[in-house]
Symmetry: C2
Subunit: 464 residues, 2 copies
């Protein structure tokens, strides 16, 4: 960066209040990293805009001064997405946290990017509605769109991309566009909404989202099914999917992870490979589905199905599941989280998880497997000492083996966490020449390479 920090600050102060601009060391440090093992780096300046127009002006300052921009939600990303490797300006969206409009009749809601998932669901509950995507972390919706997040309910309702009708985006030159509209479907030109969902801040800043929401289901039934082996549990999931029982959530939690749940969330779940399941529907339909599910899991040696009948027990179940990453972090002080995120075709899931478990046995530190197995997406959570080069090497080798296995079988290196910095090295292997097309798009839309450089894709410009 050729411009001095003082010049940038002067230009920013022309339209932001003093309390919207920070160079405080604690604030910079807070914006230096995410929740992963990736080493951090401080930005020069953190700004806290309150409107799309302010974001536009900030980006114009960066554009004029060839200064990197990193958009920042709550920093819950897992592949170093928000680390400002080239320093520059980090835009924190905390103050843009308003639910702008709930269009209940259209099953749509307009929000600012700093609104969190739980904040939105609290608002929606009054209308009998809910937002389906739950990535575990109480992330911001802007961040979730930027990484195409998904989670436990995606097997029924789809991923973030399926929920976004429109984005307001500030382009790398400061111009403000809308990528979509409020109609349920459209064939009107290139799908810019899907391009920006998952673009990880490398093509612009998301400043408003129009999202799809759903009616809270008439009836919900949750259950825990425990199995003698992980193989049995996974085979049961594959059977459930293949018989077409419409499951709303189906999560695998292995013994190691159940132990973490019990210790962190104070539960006394049986320490066996377990499926956490949920079904949504009308009363007679739901009963039929659940009966069918019980038959299927019995065929796969299920030892016990425990139904969570009331609301409170069900909420506890999913909180325990969602807190699993934190349980691992909390239970391993001084260590950092590396988590694999491959997604494979359903027919390859059982053998992929088997392969993952064999590889875990070669490690000599804490690790567990869990995942959104209904989508073919599973995670291995490794707690590593990032000061120990041998451990880091082993963990990276493990990650690579898992990715290679998935790619060789038509899968992807990341089902839901995104590329960030950590997965860049796999993209050429996964996409081949298509990676050049991504590069051409990046170069066309962000010719100076100022948007979140060194993430997702390197181009001829700054990213190189």
């Amino acid at each position: 960066m050729s411009t001095s920090i003082e010049t940038l600050l002067d230009e920013l102060k022309a339209f932001l209040r003093d309390d919207q601009i920070s160079t405080n060391e604690t604030i910079l440090e807070h914006h230096s990293k995410d929740e992963s093992y990736h080493a951090g780096n401080n930005p020069d300046i953190v700004v806290f805009p309150e409107s799309s127009e302010e974001v536009s002006e900030i980006v114009k300052v960066a554009d004029r001064n060839d200064t990197p921009i990193v958009p920042f939600g709550l920093g819950s990303s897992l592949e170093g997405h928000v680390i400002p490797y080239d320093k520059g300006i980090t835009i924190d969206f905390t103050l843009m946290n308003k639910v702008i409009e709930i269009r209940e009749k259209d099953f749509l809601v307009k929000v600012q990017p700093g609104v969190t998932r739980s904040q939105l669901n609290k608002e929606l509950k009054k209308y009998g509605l809910f937002f389906t995507v739950d990535p575990g972390a109480d992330a911001t919706l802007g961040g979730m769109a930027a990484t195409n997040a998904s989670g436990t309910t995606s097997v029924k309702y789809g991923v973030m991309k399926d929920q976004v009708n429109d984005l307001e985006v500030v382009l790398p030159d400061g111009e403000i566009i809308h990528t979509g509209n409020m109609a349920q479907k459209s064939a009107s030109g290139y799908d810019l909404t899907s391009l920006y969902v998952g673009s990880e801040g490398t093509l612009g800043c998301i400043t408003e989202l129009t999202l799809r929401v759903y009616g809270i289901p008439e009836n919900i039934m949750a259950a825990r099914a425990s199995f003698p082996t992980v193989d049995d549990a996974v085979e049961a999931v594959v059977s459930i999917l293949q018989t077409g029982v419409p499951v709303a959530r189906v999560e695998l939690v292995d013994e190691a992870s159940i132990r973490q749940v019990n210790s962190f969330s104070g539960m006394d779940y049986k320490e066996k490979p377990t499926l956490f399941l949920e079904f949504h529907g009308n009363e007679p339909g739901l009963k039929h589905d659940v009966d069918f599910m019980e038959e299927i899991v019995a065929d796969h040696h299920c030892e016990e199905v425990h139904f969570e009948k009331d609301n409170a027990a069900r909420t506890k179940l999913w909180e325990a599941r969602h807190n699993l990453a934190y349980a691992y972090i909390h239970g391993n002080p001084g260590r950092k989280l590396m988590v694999t995120d491959v997604c494979v075709p359903i027919s390859e899931l059982a053998s992929a998880i088997k392969h993952g478990r064999e590889k875990i046995e070669e490690l000599d530190f804490e690790a567990g497997i869990l995942g959104h197995v209904g989508d073919g997406n599973y995670h291995a959570l490794l707690m590593i000492d990032t000061e120990n080069p041998e451990e880091v090497r082993m963990a990276e080798q493990f990650n690579e083996a898992i990715v290679e296995y998935a790619l060789a079988r038509g899968g992807t290196c990341t089902g839901e966490h995104g590329v960030g910095r950590g997965k860049m090295k796999y993209l050429k292997r996964e996409h081949g020449s298509a990676l050049n097309v991504m590069g051409q798009i990046k170069s066309a839309l962000d010719p100076k390479g100022i948007m979140n450089p060194h993430k997702l894709i390197d181009t001829e410009g700054r990213g190189k």
Copy 2:
């Protein structure tokens, strides 16, 4: 085009058989137009490749000689998508019509672009599977992906974009890429699959598709519900959606269109505004949904619900619905079809259709309304004499009024037919500055502007 047709033919003959290349007048004329009112124009040459490699070589010839390429499926598009305005080479995908692989355990199928919807469903039936998107016409799957087609079942299963996991694409320089993979979800870089779905042949040629398929529902119930007025029918749909009854299809057919159905398909349906409905599910759940639906339509003055209990009657019902455009064309010899295609937020649907019907009354030629009202997408079908300038002017004014109404209410000018040539004039109004982003993508990926010029977007190059 600077190169002579003879030079192109010589270069094509180097790798294609003589019967894969045509300059026959009848063949050229067949590839000059689609099923719409848009005036046609002959290509110079039509080629019939049999493999992705041949498509790649054809595109390389075009690239070297700065010659336009138009990809052609069955020509069932409705906005002039396949008309070769700058002549050049039309690629007909008729010979690339193989179902390559059915991965039943993964609910995926790999097909060549010339496979039609009905051909695929015939193959899938053996496995108890089906492909959900049905745009009425028995279009090719390549064409359906290129226009992001949808149809009667999209209210439950989604549009074409939701069904495409991966595309093989021949880029404008002849390189072959894959845009996706076989996993159910991915956050691995920019979503090129969604970019190419709906790109209407302007960024490359689709040469293979990996599509999602579904298990044939355990139970299906179809029904016709007739109402005293279109308003009542539409209000009933809005209520069904808002109470969350999971409808699989819900189609509006107005009186004029029911008359066409009766005359063309030999039915004796009551000549009243009618909803064609379908529900999928397990037996007890389905019964519950259908009972609830009956209560709702009764509240909206429904005069009669007629259930189509057996398979044959249900098939007849949907064939009649799908043949409606052909019924209009057949019933109006010498006239051509103009069809509007707006999609609006559900809360605006009743007033949008009311507005459309008022505007229809001002016309003095045959017109009717029908549509995928569960998505907020409706069509006005106008049968116009394209030799009569006054009629064409009136029809275009009508179309424009419908589009303006939808855009002013957060809708889109095209829900499912795509932009082609006919909707280009509305894109600036709909997308504002976002249209420049589309232009930058087009210029970056097709710098010479050889891919389907004068469609979807005009750029600095050839399209201008």
